[in-house]
Structure formats: structure tokens, C-alpha cells
């Protein structure tokens, strides 16, 4: 009975691992440079510095928007981002239509104090390609959901692997690596040791990865849920026409609604992240934890008055909090290095696992050949 259940755990471990291993290898390998994407971006792309002249004041957002608009006359602004590290920089996203796919976006990075055009960032660099492969293998939402499915298999493989670890290690000490017996035993022990040490990290990065794969689902839930509720009075109104209200006024209104927060993103009416009638000013908190969470203040883009500001629902916050736990970018350089070591260790677990499967197959085939040879020999004796 015990043997039978062990066999069952083994089969589950084998098949869930086999199916996801190649994808997991791809994710671990592309993930490695992505841990340091910030540092690599600085090396690969020209670093632009926003010089602040002495005594300069911040320009109004409206006049910055005019400058950004002139860079791409056929496009319109749809998002505004504040640079997370350098508060003197601001990035405008301009597209032909508010709901155009992200690939059609053009970007303009401006100096907040002088309005000088610092850069026209593009999203076709090597790091963007690696990120795309890691996220969806260039296969859009289906690719993303598929990788999420692989993540689920990976988590099952971790759980079944832990059960097998418990069975195997009953007679042995933690950390045993038999280096001089056989190659297979050495690789098995390596697989077990690294596997059990990386179990928690692997589970957390796996689960948060699965959650990140659900981002489009989460966005749709929010659009149909909280966003719809917040703008319910506008449901029957005609779409906005003519000039939009002032951005600077919208910022003042949003700041009043969320006094202890700072703006992170502004989204324009008609985009995926707002209604057809509102600017959505996404405010973020100012502690390590609350900076990860956003609070949208919806400002009527005609009258400039606040419609509503609410904290986001739990499923959106779960997504926001799972991002740093997946990226490892929330504890300085040492944490990134720790992330890289765990990631490399995970690659070793995957490769040793794959080797063990090959070795086992070969061993059982040899065993079968010997057995069938013996049977034939026995038969010939008669």
C-alpha cells in the first residue's frame, strides 16, 4: 500500500515536471537577466539625465502635455507616467486611438522642470524582447495563460517532489550528497538537496508568476466591477467631445482626494484603465508596502470635478503585491543577487531532474533487455 502510494506520487512528480520543464528552463534563463533589467537598461541604452537649472520651478502638466503632443502630431496622449527613480522625468504615451494595442504606442520623455525632450524611448530593445519571451513567448494573452498553466504544473511538481523527498530521506541526513558512488546517485542527491532548499522560493515565485499571468483577467474584473460602479452615473452619457479639462486641475483634485499619496500614472478617457469620461489619476502610497498599491481618483474630464476615489479591490492588490515577489526588485542589489542565485539553483534542479529521467529510462530499458534476453535463453534451452 505504502509502495503503491509512493509510486503514485512519483508518477505525478514525473509527468508534471516533464511537461513544464522546458518552459521552466526558458523562464529561469530569460528571468536571470530580467532580475537586473534596471542595471542592464542603464548599460544598454543611453542614460539620460534631467538637468534642473538652479531656481527652476516645475512646469505645468498641461504645458508639458502640449510639448509631448508636438512630438507625434498624429497621435494623442493616453497615459502619463512619473519615473519611479528620477522624479524629474515624466513619460508620455501617445497612440492613434485611446484603445489602440500597446504596440502602437509612441513615447516621449520630458524634463519636468524645463520641458526639454530627453528621449523617445522605444520598446524593441534586447531587454524588451527577453521580457516578451518570458511573459508570453510573443503569443499574446493565450501565450501568457499557457505559461500560467505551466506554472500550475510546476507548483504541483514542487509539492509532489517534497513528498518524495520525505520518503527518500527517511534513512539519510539532510544535505547528503553521495559524490563517489554513481553519477545517478550524485545527481539525485543534488536534485534533492537543491530542490528542498529552493522549495519556498520556487513556490512563491511560481505562484506569483501564475498570478501575474492573470493580469488581463484581473483588469477585466476591475473594469466590469469597481470601475463600472464608480462611473455608474455616466453609463448613459454620450462620449466626450471637444477639449478636455485641465490636467493640472485634475491633479489638484486627485491630490485632495488622496492627501498622503503621490501621483504615479494618469490615464486618459477611453483607455483600458479609465472610463470614457474620466481622467483616472492613480495615486500611490509613500511607504515600502503602500507604494506598491494604487488608488484611482476619477476626475470628470469635462468639468474637472472629482467623481470618485476608492482603494482597489483585493484581487487587484494581490496582483500588485505579487509583482515584486516575482521580480525580486524590492530589496536592493543584495536581494537581486539572492534572486539570481536561487534562479540558478532552480536551473540546476530542472537539469538534474531531466537527467534523472533519462538515466532512469536507460536503466529500465537495460533491465528489460537483460530480462528478455534471459527469457529467450531459457526458452531456447527447452
Amino acid at each position: 500500500m505504502k509502495l503503491k502510494s509512493a509510486k503514485r506520487w512519483f508518477e505525478w512528480h514525473k509527468w508534471t515536471s516533464l511537461i513544464c520543464t522546458l518552459f521552466m528552463l526558458m523562464l529561469c534563463i530569460t528571468g536571470l537577466p530580467l532580475i537586473f533589467h534596471h542595471e542592464l537598461d542603464a548599460v544598454l541604452e543611453k542614460e539620460v539625465v534631467a538637468q534642473v537649472p538652479p531656481g527652476a520651478h516645475k512646469m505645468s502638466l498641461d504645458s508639458l502635455a502640449v510639448i509631448a503632443g508636438k512630438q507625434y502630431p498624429t497621435n494623442n496622449i493616453r497615459y502619463i507616467f512619473w519615473d519611479e527613480d528620477d522624479k524629474n522625468k515624466i513619460v508620455f504615451d501617445l497612440a492613434p486611438k485611446p484603445d489602440a494595442p500597446p504596440e502602437q504606442s509612441k513615447y516621449a520623455m520630458l524634463n519636468v522642470y524645463t520641458g526639454e525632450l530627453l528621449d523617445k524611448p522605444t520598446t524593441d530593445g534586447i531587454m524588451d524582447v527577453i521580457l516578451k519571451i518570458h511573459m508570453n513567448m510573443f503569443l499574446g494573452i493565450p501565450g501568457k495563460l499557457f505559461l500560467g498553466l505551466m506554472g500550475i504544473l510546476f507548483v504541483i511538481a514542487i509539492v509532489t517532489g517534497a513528498v518524495l523527498y520525505g520518503r527518500i530521506m527517511k534513512k539519510y541526513d539532510f544535505g547528503m550528497v553521495r559524490k563517489y558512488k554513481s553519477k545517478r546517485l550524485q545527481w539525485l542527491d543534488t536534485h534533492n538537496l537543491i530542490g528542498i532548499v529552493t522549495l519556498t522560493w520556487g513556490s512563491v515565485v511560481g505562484l506569483t508568476g501564475i498570478i501575474n499571468c492573470m493580469s488581463d483577467v484581473v483588469l477585466a474584473l476591475w473594469q466590469q466591477g469597481q470601475l463600472k460602479e464608480m462611473v455608474a452615473p455616466y453609463a448613459q452619457q454620450q462620449p466626450l467631445t471637444g477639449k478636455l479639462s485641465s490636467l493640472d486641475e485634475a491633479m489638484v483634485v486627485a491630490q485632495q482626494a488622496a492627501p498622503h499619496m503621490e501621483p504615479r500614472i494618469v490615464t486618459y478617457p477611453g483607455t483600458m484603465f479609465s472610463s470614457k469620461h474620466h481622467y483616472a489619476v492613480f495615486m500611490r502610497g509613500n511607504t515600502a508596502l503602500t507604494a506598491r498599491l494604487l488608488m484611482p481618483a476619477l476626475v470628470d474630464a469635462k468639468t474637472g470635478k472629482l467623481t470618485d476615489a476608492r482603494r482597489m479591490p483585493w484581487y487587484v492588490n494581490t496582483l500588485f503585491l505579487s509583482e515584486p515577489l516575482h521580480f525580486g526588485d524590492y530589496g536592493g542589489m543584495p536581494l537581486k543577487i539572492i534572486w539570481a542565485v536561487f534562479d540558478t539553483a532552480m536551473i540546476i534542479v530542472l537539469i538534474t531532474g531531466l537527467y534523472l529521467w533519462f538515466a532512469r529510462r536507460k536503466a529500465s530499458r537495460l533491465q528489460w533487455t537483460r530480462l528478455s534476453e534471459k527469457i529467450t535463453a531459457d526458452e531456447e534451452e527447452y
Binding site: 517534497a162 523527498y165 520525505g166 530521506m169 527517511k170 541526513d173 539532510f174 544535505g175 547528503m176 550528497v177 553521495r178 559524490k179 543534488t190 538537496l193 537543491i194 528542498i196 532548499v197 522549495l199 519556498t200 522560493w201 512563491v204 511607504t287 515600502a288 508596502l289 506598491r292 503585491l321 515584486p324 515577489l325 524590492y330 530589496g331 536592493g332 543584495p334 536581494l335 539572492i338 542565485v341 536561487f342 539553483a345
Partner: protein, 62 residues
Amino acid sequence: MRKNTNTTLHVWGKPLLVALLSITGLITALVGDGYWDAFSWLALGIPLVMMAGHYFYPKKTE
């Protein structure tokens, strides 16, 4: 019965320690900066050091 608990502790003692250290380390860096981050480096670093230690410096009995 007593033998059973010993086996469980023997097999799962260190893995449990590693899991607790890892999860504390993963969360503390999220909660705060400065000392919180430093604590997280330590908590996540210990399992990695344990792993390397066991791999490169195995006990003599093995």
C-alpha cells in the same frame, strides 16, 4: 511512536527551518526598507549558505 516523531524531525527539521527563514525573508523586504531589507538578505542568505556548505563540504561519514 517515539521513533516516528524522531524520524519526522530528522527528515523535516532543517527543511522546515529553511522554509521559515525563506518566507520571513521574502516578506520582510516587502514590508519595509533599511533594516527590514538587511534582515531579509540574512534570512534568505542562510539557506543558500547551508546548501553550498552541504554540497561542497560534505560530512565525513558520507
